[in-house]
């Protein structure tokens, strides 16, 4: 069978031979896929931005874009297994890897104080959050930064003596996403990563994952195994939120392993919702509905621009705070979201929520964000 481009050539050629291009007639219906994919901000960037993004990608890959910097010699302090398992940790540190000052407390202290820390209660087995981040012994001087080409996502990896934390920064949200902190892969003492993954983080209707070198490719597949390969960059991948019959899988030398969800979810077992702005007088809540008694994993995130910093949305202003919550609830459930307050009153926030149901569970779940 001819490929897509050959079929297009044949169809247009046939239309030309028939003279269809020389006459005006009624339009036939053909599909018109949405262009509003989640990567819109980059897609609508100007040509300069594209050149910049491509140039960054090229030089980071070709020249390495990296030159040794004082502090790079501390590499031996990172858990050897991490260096072995994550390619990004084998690249020399450069000035581009420095955590910007707008990250709370330079990133590391913020993570250790729990600013980004997560309260994970997975319904499925998978990478588990380190409960005591301090035990990892983070080494902020050895932080690595990487831009995931074509996505507008920047990934940060802070290695440690007994694990690592990673988080993402996107152009569409006001602050870095919550850090995912995990132990050393395959280390019986920590055993916090028992697969080829190091976790997943969400933004809007996308997921970002971070995987080890064991992963040769990451694919978004449907129930029949059909799908597409997701670009993998320095261990990071970005995917649209999988649909109810889709799954993100890792292709490794030993076979295919699920990345997200950890097991195939039942029909309609995954749902997402987002509210861009919560007014200052509303009380937002996340409402789970569906099959009564079903247990759903709810992951929600909120970023808030405090009064005074609202004038510069998108900038990493000090008045921006982020919150994350991950917990499982029986359906139906209503989870009230507490607002941060500053001296001037309630801030405006962005809330996103995703609910998932384990494969063995039967039923459906829906998630909605309400304001009263």
């Amino acid at each position: 069978m001819d490929d897509y481009f050959a079929q297009i050539e044949q169809q247009i050629g046939a239309a030309i031979a028939a003279g269809a291009h020389r006459r005006r007639g009624p339009f036939a219906r053909v599909r018109a896929p949405r262009l509003g994919f989640g990567l819109g901000p980059l897609a609508i960037a100007g040509s300069t931005a594209i050149v910049v993004a491509i140039a960054a990608f090229v030089l980071l890959n070709v020249h390495g874009g990296r030159s040794p910097q004082p502090g790079g010699g501390q590499g031996s302090q990172i858990a050897p297994a991490l260096v072995r398992d994550f390619r990004i940790l084998r690249t020399p540190v450069t000035s581009a890897d420095r955590l910007p000052p707008h990250f709370a407390d330079g990133g590391t202290a913020g993570i250790q104080r729990g600013l980004f820390a997560r309260d994970l209660t997975h319904t499925d087995p998978g990478p588990r959050q380190v409960s005591d981040v301090a035990s990892i012994g983070l080494l902020p001087a050895l932080t690595r930064r990487t831009e995931i080409p074509g996505t507008g996502v920047t990934g940060w990896v802070i290695p440690g003596r007994r694990g690592l934390c990673w988080f993402i920064e996107t152009r569409t949200l006001l602050l870095p996403q919550g850090a995912e902190c995990v132990g050393v892969p395959a280390d019986p003492a920590t055993a916090l990563i028992d697969g080829p993954w190091a976790g997943v983080s969400g933004y809007n209707d996308h997921l970002v994952g971070f995987v080890t070198d064991r992963v040769l490719a990451v694919r978004l597949v449907d129930g029949h195994g059909r799908g597409r390969t997701l670009p993998l960059h320095d261990g990071f991948y970005v995917s649209r939120l999988p649909g109810s019959d889709q799954q993100i899988v890792a292709v490794t030398r030993t076979g295919i392993e699920p990345l997200y969800p950890q097991r195939t979810v039942s029909t309609s077992g995954i749902a997402g919702s987002a509210a861009r702005v919560i007014s200052r007088t509303s009380r937002p809540a996340i409402v789970l509905t569906g099959t009564s008694g079903l247990r759903a994993q709810l992951d929600w995130e909120m970023s808030c621009a405090l009064r005074g910093s609202n004038a510069t949305p998108g900038a990493h202003a000090p008045g921006v705070k982020g919150y994350q919550h991950h917990h499982s609830y029986p359906v139906p459930a209503t989870v009230q979201i507490g607002f941060p307050t500053d001296s001037a009153g309630r801030p405006s926030c962005y809330v996103g929520a995703i609910a998932t149901v384990a494969a063995h569970a039967r039923g459906t779940v829906h998630v909605a964000i309400t304001t009263h």
């Binding site: 169809q11 247009i12 030309i16 053909v30 262009l35 300069t48 050149v51 140039a55 020249h63 597409r228």
Partner: protein, 189 residues
């Protein structure tokens, strides 16, 4: 009818005239000649192989419709084709949907995309990166250095100026010139 080989030796202007005169072989030759460049352009703008493939189909349908209006001003029709691609992309962005007007005019049926098609587009994008890699390396040393420090390492202009022992204005000019050179080179087919 001419053989396909004959068509492949004809100029862009002759092929487009052939398209206007209902010669499907002329279209085939034109399509094969310029599809990679159109895909490269669309891929660099959308960064999405599926959108790129979908838009490319619309672009060539629009080319068929516009063939009769083509007035050759260059030895190559590449700028004209990229102009159509740019317009198609712009309309699609404004509408929030991939433009399909030209395909509807021609009565084209939907064509399913497969992984292999997307891989082909991605391969073309990779080629583009390789090309850019060469272009960056070919920049004059001062421009290349400034572009690397500013664009790649995202250093402040002031910081770069200190390192290079020149004024911020000079750094800005070098970065601007470097990016302009890259843009100019990338526009060439």
């Amino acid at each position: 009818m001419e053989s396909r080989g004959g068509h492949e030796e004809r100029s862009d202007a002759e092929l487009i005239r052939g398209v206007a005169d209902c010669d499907r072989e002329a279209f085939a030759a034109l399509y094969r000649r310029h599809l990679p460049a159109v895909l490269r352009f669309l891929a660099s703008e959308t960064r999405d192989p599926e959108l790129t493939a979908d838009l490319a189909a619309e672009v060539f349908a629009a080319v068929a419709l516009a063939a009769a209006r083509y007035r050759p001003t260059n030895p190559t029709a590449a700028p004209w084709l990229i102009g159509i691609a740019r317009n198609t992309l712009g309309r699609s962005r404004r509408r929030g949907r991939v433009e399909s007007r030209a395909r509807r005019r021609l009565g084209l049926e939907p064509v399913e995309l497969h992984d292999s098609d997307l891989e082909r587009v991605e391969a073309i994008v990779d080629d583009q990166r390789g090309r850019l890699r060469g272009l960056v390396a070919a920049l004059p040393a001062d421009e290349r250095h400034a572009v690397e420090l500013r664009v790649i390492n995202e250093r402040d202009y002031g910081e770069i100026a200190t390192e290079l022992r020149c004024s911020e204005l000079v750094v800005r000019k070098r970065v601007s010139r470097g990016l302009a050179h890259l843009r100019e080179q990338l526009r060439e087919p």
